[in-house]
Structure formats: structure tokens, C-alpha cells
């Protein structure tokens, strides 16, 4: 596998070299950093620190119109946000990159979802290693790492004054070739420094939990009252799901106005009462206990059963954002203790 060095001051030029692509990268938007399409590339645009919000919206927008229709002419036309050209997503964290590997089978198997897939296949993922883990990061506990290559085409690892570029896939290779002029191949010394840095960052990750035997455990305690204990302080908002890189539940609605309308696909959350509410008024998950159980169940049991991987990349967002300190790790610990 080829390895290169990109001097930090060359980064902008590197990105400029990719102008034939639609570029998506973390940019500062008022209070928060979000992944967004970038048209003007300069030093001020980007915010490569860890992104509080997940980039999954690029592949799976929070609101996506599948098609529009017209109640006068009964005409229907496809309005899905089909990528116009090849995309490059630059600067995402390894954990978020992994999240796409977890989402892929969901949208690929059983009923292939064109809306997701065409964006996904049209997008090349270039990651930057995680140098400043968040308080609640625990990727290492769920098979990830601050410098994991999974799901990426290229990985940038930050060295003191340059980036160590690892080529992971053919697409990655083509990118490297387009910017070859800016890159020099990496020396073994630089590789050594890289490994040390990666190791150092790994040690920065303080939260961890042994997840190996969780599935068996969870299966046994479906009816256990612990779920009520865990759920009592939950206020049933959607924060944990909306900030989660691997949550993919959505709702579909026709929004009609002015004699026409759109079929909209909008993120939904299993933490809402309305999510499972039947037309009859019956609700199979009547209380927050069942909903919280469902989320943990889904992530750490069903997802493993169905796709062989936990539905969690350990980004810790659900913990950090929870307004009432519902702490996933703490909860899992309690479950294990049973």
C-alpha cells in the first residue's frame, strides 16, 4: 500500500486539485461545525477538529424529496438529490467513515435504496485521523481506532507539520495521482513517527467497555426491570438518534401545497412516542423504557445478528449530547453487571 507525505501548507492546494469533484468538508456554521458542500476553497473555510455532528446527512439527508408531483397534471418527476458529478468527502473522522460501512448493508440488502446508494457510490471518502478524541469517545471498544482505515479511500494522519497519506483503495489512488505533484512518498522514519502519534492518540481515549459478550447478555434480559431503571431519566427527545452516525430510521410523507407537492423522506427517531404509535392508538413501545431498550437492542444485538457488526462506532455523541446524562457506556456496564 502506498504512503505519501503532504506538507500542511500544501493542503489547500491539494483540495484545489480536486476541483473536478463536488467537495464536501467540515465547515463552521455559526455555533457548530457541519459537513457541507464547499465551493470556495481557502484556509478560512475548514474546521478539521472533531465534528460534533455526523456527516451521514451527505449520503442520507435529514430531509430528502424522493420525487415531486402535480395534482393538476398528475405529472411526477424525480427530484431526488442525485449527485451531478463525482464527490469527495474530505476530513471525516475514521469513526464516521466506519459508520458508512454499517449503513451500507441496511440500504443495500433486502430492498436496495437508490437514493442512498447513488450518493454513496459517487462519493470518495478521505479521512483525517482523530487527534483530539472527545470526552466520551470509545471507538476502540467497538472495533474502531482513531486512525482506522475502514470505509475510507484515503486516510490523512496529522504529523507535526505534514500529513501522512495512506492510500487505501483504487479510488484513493486516482485522487493521489491527480495531486501527485504535491505529494512525496513517505520515509520509514515518518512512518515510525506516524505510528507513535496514532498510539498516543489511542491512549487519549479514556472511555472503554468490553463489548464481546453483550449480545448474549442483552438477549437474556429483555424483560428485566433494569430497562426501567435506565430509562427513568430519559426525556424521550431525539438527540441521541439524530446525532448518531449509524441511526437510519426515517419517515415518508407527502407534503402538498399549491396544487403540487413532494414525497419527502425525513429522519425519524425511535425515541419518539409517535414512532411506533399505531393508527388504532395502540403503542407497542408505550414508555420510554421500551424505547431505550429498543435502541440498545438494535445497536448491540439485532445489528450484529443481521449484519455481523455492532450498530455503533463509539463516537460518544449520544453520551455527550444527552441533556440528562443518559450514558450509553454506563448503561451497558449496568447491563453487563446483571
Amino acid at each position: 500500500m502506498e504512503k505519501f507525505i503532504l506538507p500542511k501548507e500544501k493542503l489547500i492546494d491539494f483540495l484545489k486539485a480536486l476541483e473536478s469533484y463536488d467537495l464536501f468538508a467540515p465547515v463552521r456554521k455559526e455555533e457548530v461545525t457541519v459537513f457541507a458542500q464547499v465551493n470556495k476553497i481557502d484556509g478560512t473555510t475548514f474546521d478539521f477538529k472533531n465534528q460534533p455532528l455526523t456527516p451521514k446527512g451527505i449520503m442520507f439527508p435529514q430531509t430528502e424529496s424522493l420525487f415531486t408531483f402535480d395534482t393538476k397534471t398528475y405529472a411526477m418527476n424525480d427530484s431526488a438529490m442525485t449527485p451531478k458529478k463525482q464527490r469527495v468527502m474530505f476530513g471525516l473522522r475514521p469513526c464516521d467513515a466506519r459508520s458508512f460501512l454499517i449503513l451500507d448493508p441496511v440500504f443495500k440488502q433486502d430492498y436496495p435504496d437508490p437514493y442512498y446508494l447513488e450518493k454513496r457510490t459517487a462519493t470518495i471518502l478521505i479521512g483525517i485521523n482523530c487527534s483530539e478524541p472527545f470526552t466520551n469517545c470509545f471507538c476502540t471498544s467497538v472495533g474502531g481506532s482513531p486512525a482506522s482505515q475502514e470505509g475510507l479511500d484515503l486516510l490523512f494522519i496529522e504529523l507535526p507539520n505534514s500529513y501522512f497519506v495512506e492510500v487505501i483503495s483504487p479510488q484513493g489512488k486516482t485522487i493521489v495521482e491527480e495531486a501527485s505533484s504535491l505529494l512525496s512518498s513517505a520515509s520509514p522514519e515518518e512512518e515510525k513517527i506516524k505510528d507513535e502519534i496514532v498510539q498516543a492518540v489511542k491512549e487519549k481515549i479514556k472511555r472503554n467497555i468490553e463489548t464481546k459478550h453483550l449480545p448474549e447478555k442483552i438477549e437474556k434480559i429483555f424483560e428485566n426491570p433494569i430497562w426501567k431503571d435506565l430509562a427513568f431519566k430519559c426525556i424521550g427527545c431525539g438527540i441521541c438518534t439524530y446525532t448518531c452516525p449509524t441511526c437510519y430510521c426515517f419517515d415518508i410523507q407527502d407534503e402538498v401545497l399549491k396544487g403540487g407537492g413532494k414525497r419527502q423522506r425525513i429522519w425519524d427517531s425511535c425515541m419518539f412516542k409517535e414512532y411506533t404509535l399505531h393508527a388504532s392508538g395502540h403503542n407497542p413501545r408505550p414508555t420510554r423504557a421500551e424505547r431505550l431498550r429498543n435502541r440498545i437492542y438494535h445497536k448491540f444485538k439485532q445489528n450484529i445478528d443481521k449484519y455481523g457488526v455492532a450498530g455503533c462506532v463509539g463516537c460518544g455523541r449520544c453520551i455527550s449530547f444527552c441533556p440528562v446524562n443518559e450514558d450509553l457506556i454506563e448503561n451497558l456496564m449496568k447491563i453487563k453487571k446483571l
Partner: protein, 149 residues
């Protein structure tokens, strides 16, 4: 604003203002066709949030009209209306929505002329304000596809 014709929705209470509007018809006073009336039994029925709904539906201005204070057919409905909308207008303004687009007026069943004049005046005002841009229905801005330039 080359030629802009605003859409104005008027909530009229059945007993005073709707009757007043009828009277301006029977006495053949003229006002612009931009005004479209929606009849309610009492101005007190109008929920401020409906104004926003009207805006989203495409209205550039909204009128809420009821009996003069003290004349309410239901004795007090218009007092509640008054309270709600004094507050609501200020709130709209705070959100950057021009409160001039929301007009509350008292029109009695005998004020046909006044109704016509009010509508004339109001239509001009909204025409000058131009189209309402705060609400652009059905725009879809998917997260992550924000265009920064």
C-alpha cells in the same frame, strides 16, 4: 417590484365584519380583488398560528377583523383577539417578519364604506411591501447540502 399583486386573506367575523363586507358589496363600493375573505363566527376563533399557516400557503398579508370592542355578538370574543394579536404582531416583528402584514381592524356591520377603504389602503400597503419572502413553501434544504457560497 415591477408588477406585484399581493394575496391577502381576511378573517372576518360573521356578525360585524363579514356583514360589513357584504354591505360594501350591496352599496357597490369598490376594493381590490386581492382580498379573499374567510368567514369565522367570531374573531376570537382565529388562532394566531393560523396567520403563519396563511403566510406559508402564499398569503402576503392577513387581516383579522371583528366587531368593535363592546359590540361582540358573543360579548367578549374580540377582547381576546385583541390581546392575542397585540402580542403576536410584536413577536412576528422580533422574528423578522414585517408586522405590517398582519392587520387587526374593527369593522361593524354598518361600515361598508370603511371596509372598502380599509381594504384599498391595506392592499396598497402590502403591494409596496412586496412579496413575503420569509416563508418559501416546500423548499428542501437537506442537511449537509447547504451551499455556503
Amino acid at each position: 417590484m415591477s408588477h406585484f399583486e399581493p394575496t391577502i386573506i381576511a378573517f372576518l367575523c360573521n356578525w360585524c365584519s363579514y356583514a360589513g363586507a357584504d354591505l360594501s358589496g350591496t352599496s357597490r363600493y369598490k376594493y381590490p380583488a386581492n382580498i379573499k375573505a374567510l368567514r369565522v363566527m367570531c374573531s376570537g376563533r382565529v388562532n394566531p398560528l393560523m396567520i403563519v399557516q396563511a403566510f406559508r400557503a402564499g398569503a402576503d398579508g392577513v387581516v383579522i377583523s371583528g366587531c368593535h370592542p363592546g359590540d361582540c355578538h358573543y360579548s367578549q370574543g374580540n377582547y381576546f383577539t385583541r390581546r392575542r394579536f397585540i402580542l403576536f404582531r410584536k413577536f412576528l416583528e422580533f422574528l423578522g417578519i414585517d408586522p405590517e402584514r398582519v392587520v387587526l381592524s374593527w369593522v361593524s356591520a354598518s361600515e361598508g364604506k370603511r371596509f372598502a377603504d380599509l381594504m384599498e389602503e391595506l392592499t396598497d400597503k402590502i403591494r409596496n411591501l412586496g412579496p413575503l419572502k420569509n416563508f418559501t413553501p416546500l423548499e428542501t434544504e437537506a442537511r449537509g447540502e447547504i451551499n455556503d457560497s
